[in-house]
Symmetry: C2
DNA sequence: CACAAGGTACGATGCAAGTCGTACCCAGGA
DNA sequence: TCCTGGGTACGACTTGCATCGTACCTTGTG
């Protein structure tokens, strides 16, 4: 399984797919946590502790990857996920700020 | 059927519902057309000429209304739809600009 | 009044999405 | 070398969504 697979170019990212990906609360949580963390942070899928089975976690991360929101690369026996921050900001300006603002609204 | 029905307050608008509503291309088109038009513009459902049956149009406008994106009021024998511009901008700053920018990208 | 126009309500259908269990793979460490 | 941990692949199930036809309601108009 090659590293560069299912990662659309910034120009190929579709707003419909991005919005559909972010409509799911679990996927939105992943993106929000990455956006709230430091630039370039790489985390494993399991580090998010999503309350679903392993196969479901894989499904959600594939959806995020194919929408262009995250990048996944193999590193050793793990698969690290990073937020495609600059590409998202260039293609959909203000989107990440929107998610962070909404997140801050729910944890006082 | 009363006018004020299924219209959430700005504080009750849920990002998940809003994103799910905007993930559909037909619904996104309605919001984008309203956002591109003048402030306070009121249009009938049929004026958008969506390429689906009447019952489907009703379904899409209900989804938009329940997400809080549009307001529908009875006027004569029609039901006028207006964009809840200020509420959206207050609750999700930059969202409408995002939709307009994406729309401009697709019509040169 | 009768009729057309704009919408809604209801039920049905087909398809996509979220979820899971199981089996499997691959890299690292005991 | 075997085993464990992190992920994936596949198939199955269930729910939700978009779509439609039909019937119905309401308002305005000829």
């Amino acid at each position: 399984m090659p590293d560069e697979e299912g990662h659309p170019e910034p120009g190929e990212m579709e707003l419909g797919k991005v919005l559909a990906a972010l409509a799911d609360p679990l996927r939105r949580r992943v993106v929000t946590e990455l956006a709230a963390g430091p630039e370039g942070e790489a985390r494993t899928c399991s580090s998010f502790a999503l309350p679903v089975a392993k196969a479901t976690v894989t499904h959600h991360f594939r959806t995020l990857r194919e929408a262009g929101l995250i990048r996944q690369v193999n590193r050793g026996n793990s698969r690290m996920a990073t937020l495609r921050r600059s590409e998202i900001e260039q293609r959909f300006p203000g989107l990440l700020a929107l998610l962070l603002a909404e997140d801050a609204r729910h944890r006082p």
